[in-house]
């Protein structure tokens, strides 16, 4: 570690940042309860905790998005006032949200330049910006073409733009809130390379993740929040994954759910040579044929963007099937209205749950009946039955341990993981005949992940046919009976779990047949 006081970006370091006695109340929740937290230059400090523990809240306070009711923030020992992101950016604090705030129709350079004062007054000097981006990219090993359009870039590349944006604005300390949740394993590795470079150069990083192996791999220290309280901080070298899990949850956590032995039944869902388009006009599915049996989990592996979303939407009626046939329990459902398909008890846990699976400005209770709102017991003769709606909400909140002040709380006010749980609870609890689950455990803490996996296995035992779309190979292996690999809109191969290996799947996911290699 070099000992000059400046970072390669030219900005001075934040040797230490300290949050002291931070308290933040929301209606019905104490999200931060006299929390102490600190970050030093050159380290990655992990912030762990269950869904709703208060991680994002604490970091949003640091970034100036929320204002603490009590407590103070010190940089290099001196108290500072942060009342807006502008303040925190000026102080050298940057934050990468999981939802990127990029304009897809602009280039990388234009996105970085957005909202910056320009050397040429009102005109933006894009050449200057581009050159600086290339310099920064060189220093930190972030491969990025300033003239590329954002919509052409993968999620991982878009995240890099956000990092560049923060560095460009002079971030000495960077907060990464669940940056890995949307990345492929390769992209995670690339992110870690960048993070290592940054700490080597003297940046301080805060890293939030529910994946403990990542924490063990990349972090120097780890702090755990539980119910808004700071439980403690330890060097990562003194802990293991299992320690962390137990520490965080406060009880023993198992990692491998019991699959049990289930006899698979008749074919529930059948796709025959299904073709459909995608959002960008490229062929989404190029003739996919699949059989999913009762009591079976069919894993769909593949790098995201290879037709997973299109597959789910073609089956659920949300996307027009161009040719081919989809059959549910013997009846054809190709291109039926989503309402008619839902009616046949097909459940769908969409990947982009916030956008496609719930309504942010509806209450938790209202969101929990999104699928069945027009039917008894929630609706009689066109009138909502508030008593039954409320009872349903109570039951599901308890069963899925959704952390919410009340069932009347707007969904948007829940923590990220708890929003996910609403969709999961609703879709799993309607005794479906078929479930399509896309990235069902993304954003969930380990306890909730374990619970959702158990629930899926329970459904399998009850004879439900399940399609599990996941980029997480561990999850695919833990749950699937058979594994289909999607590559560029086609099924490369379908392999029984017993004969699948990560190597074999990896090759298939890259579009290579092992026999031919």
């Amino acid at each position: 570690m070099s000992e000059t006081d400046n970072l390669p970006s030219g900005r001075s370091r934040i040797h230490s940042l300290e949050m002291r006695g931070i308290t933040k109340r929301f209606p019905g929740v104490l999200a931060s309860d006299h929390v102490n937290f600190d970050v030093k230059a050159g380290e990655v400090h992990a912030l762990l905790g269950e869904n709703g523990a208060g991680k994002s809240t604490l970091m949003k306070i640091l970034y100036g998005l929320y204002h603490p009711d009590e407590g103070e923030i010190l940089i290099n020992g001196k108290p500072v006032r942060i009342s807006s992101p502008t303040d925190s950016i000026n102080l050298g604090i940057g934050m990468i949200h999981q939802h990127f705030m990029l304009v897809p129709t602009l280039t990388v350079a234009e996105n970085v330049a957005l909202g910056l004062p320009s050397s040429r007054g009102l005109l933006t000097d894009l050449d200057v910006v581009s050159k600086r981006i290339v310099d920064l990219a060189d220093i930190y090993g972030l491969r990025l073409d300033p003239s590329a359009y954002v919509w052409q870039l993968s999620v991982g590349q878009q995240q890099r733009i956000e990092i560049i944006k923060a560095l460009y604005r002079g971030a000495a300390l960077l907060i990464l809130d669940e940056p890995t949740a949307v990345l492929t394993p390769q992209e995670v590795d690339e992110l870690f390379v960048i993070m290592r470079q940054m700490t080597k150069d003297g940046h301080g990083l805060v890293f939030i993740s529910h994946k403990l192996h990542e924490v063990v791999e990349i972090c120097n220290r780890v702090s755990v929040l539980r119910d808004g309280k700071m439980i403690g901080t330890r060097p990562t070298s003194e802990t293991t994954k299992q320690d962390l899990a137990n520490w965080m949850v406060g009880r023993e956590v198992g990692f491998a759910p019991d699959r049990g032995n289930v006899q698979r039944g008749e074919i529930r869902l059948k796709l025959e040579d299904v073709k459909c388009g995608s959002d960008r006009g490229t062929p989404g599915l190029r003739g996919v044929s699949l059989d999913i049996h009762a009591g079976e989990i069919l894993g769909i592996a593949g790098v995201s963007g290879n037709g997973q979303r299109e597959l789910a939407e073609a089956v659920t009626g949300l996307r027009k099937v161009i040719s081919g046939k989809v059959t549910l329990e013997g009846g054809e459902i190709t291109n039926l209205q989503p309402a008619e398909i839902t009616e046949r008890l097909l459940s769908y846990i969409p990947e982009e749950r916030m956008k496609d699976g719930m309504i942010k400005d509806f209450t938790v209770a209202e969101n929990l009946i999104l699928r069945e709102h027009h039917k008894p017991p929630y609706s009689n003769y066109g009138f909502l039955n508030l008593k039954n709606i409320s009872a349903n909400a109570d039951m599901l909140i308890k069963k899925f341990r959704v952390k919410t002040p009340s069932q009347e709380t707007m969904a948007k006010n829940l923590s990220g993981g708890n929003i996910q749980k609403i969709v999961l609870a609703r879709e799993i609890s309607r005794t479906p005949r078929v479930i399509i689950a896309a990235q069902p455990t993304r954003g969930l803490d380990i306890g909730a992940t374990e619970y959702v996996r158990e629930q899926l296995l329970e459904q399998r035992k009850l004879g439900t046919a399940i399609i599990l779309i996941s980029e997480d190979l561990d999850e695919i292996f833990a749950l699937s009976d058979r594994i289909a690999v999607l590559y560029e809109g086609s099924v490369m191969d379908i392999v029984p779990r017993a004969s699948a290996t990560p190597q074999k799947l990896g090759m298939l996911m890259a579009g290579v047949h092992p026999e031919n290699a």
Binding site: Y66, W151, E178, E340, K355, D356, G416
Partner: protein
């Protein structure tokens, strides 16, 4: 701007009070204009207050003005919650009034209560048709509803002028040389009851308040309301939930028009007892079709809050008249003042939406995933 975002709460409070600030700002600008005209603004606004609340008759007039505002506002609550913008209240009022008048002039043998009931339903129905057409065009042909509702206003005015000069003209006028474009008078038995004679306060006010309660129930206690709100908030998720987005857009606009149509009918049966035209829409509606939008926004698009909002706005309209008479300002100034309030309140609503979006943009939930290309939901639905 950032300093105003001191805290979440502050920010929400500011949002809630924006329409009030907007009205105050409009009144202050009005005061400056009054000063320029050499009128003492304090005297002027005192006259305004007096005109609106100074006597029981003044207050009754305020309520009479507030009644059509509230009815239109109720419809606006429905359509705006469904994310459909209805600028067609004027036209919908006119069509509702024409149908209701026709009923009153043609069923003279029936008992009063029955004719009134049928007439109100006819007004409701007429407005529904006039709102439903742009709704249909939006849902199935992607025609912008702001443009189409405004155009429907123009058509309604022409229709009214044609009917009142020709087929529906008062036979007495047709015979006399005067040819005033108006219908015959309704029978006395068909008038909505006066609540507080000798003031003009009529039973329509009661209808409006009761309907406010019903619209509340509609929006938050029925499946239909749930669906309209869902479609307005998130069409993607609504489609996923099995709601036919297009259909509920049409319904939202149709219901919105229906309430405006009823407002037209109530004006005829409660105040004018006939239809008469000066050639313009506002000659009949008093611009309630537009002002009702402001009242609804003022009431936060909540049917119950729309009640005080409409009364306030009615007071402003009635009081401004008195002000004009007392301090002798040109009527153009009153119109300008009225317009200022409308523009300011509507802009404040746009500002509020922007602030909300901005807040969301900075405070995006962590687990929200990057956007993918937006599908054209309506097209997909129309196409399949």
């Amino acid at each position: 701007m950032t300093k105003i975002f001191q805290s979440e709460w502050m920010s929400h409070l500011v949002d809630a009070l924006l329409p009030v600030f907007a009205t105050l700002a409009a009144l202050i600008i009005g005061a400056i204009m009054l000063l320029v005209l050499g009128v003492n603004p304090i005297d002027a606004y005192a006259a305004l207050w007096d005109g609106a609340f100074g006597s029981s008759n003044a207050f009754a007039e305020t309520l009479v003005k507030a009644t059509p505002l509230l009815l239109v506002a109720l419809g606006i609550c429905i359509s705006f919650r469904g994310d459909v913008i209805n600028i067609g209240g004027e036209g919908q009022m006119i069509i509702g009034a024409i149908l209701a008048t026709w009923v009153g002039l043609n069923f003279t043998d029936l008992p009063g209560w029955l004719v009134i009931t049928i007439a109100m339903l006819a007004g409701f129905f007429g407005g529904a048709v006039w709102g439903g057409i742009p709704g249909f065009l939006k849902a199935y042909f992607n025609v912008n509803e702001i443009l189409s509702t405004v155009m429907m206003n123009a058509i309604a005015v022409q229709l009214m002028n044609f009917l009142l000069r020709g087929p529906m003209i008062d036979p007495a006028q047709a015979e006399a040389a005067s040819q005033i474009p108006q219908t015959a008078r309704l029978l006395d038995a068909f008038r909505l009851a006066r609540l507080m004679p000798p003031t003009r306060l009529h039973f329509g006010a009661v209808i409006a308040v009761v309907l406010a309660g019903l619209v509340y129930i509609l929006l938050w206690r029925t499946t239909l309301g749930y669906r309209i709100r869902a479609v307005g908030q998130n069409p993607h998720a609504s489609r996923y939930a099995g709601i036919q987005v297009s259909r509920y857009m049409v319904l939202a606009l149709l219901l919105s028009g229906a309430f405006a149509g009823l407002a037209g009918a109530v004006q005829v049966y409660g105040v004018n007892y006939r239809m008469i035209t000066d050639g313009s829409a506002s000659g009949f509606t008093g611009s309630a079709g537009f002002n009702g939008i402001v009242a609804a926004l003022f009431g936060g698009l909540h049917p119950i809050w729309s009640i005080p909002a409409s009364i306030l706005f009615g007071a402003l309209l009635v009081g401004a008249n008195k002000m004009q008479r007392i301090v002798q300002v040109p009527s153009a100034l009153i119109i300008a003042l009225n317009g200022l309030v409308v523009v300011f309140v509507v802009s404040s609503e746009i500002l509020r939406k922007q602030r909300q979006r901005k807040r969301l943009a900075v405070a995006k939930r962590d687990d929200e995933l990057p956007p993918s290309g937006d599908k054209q939901i309506q097209q997909a639905e129309a196409g399949s």
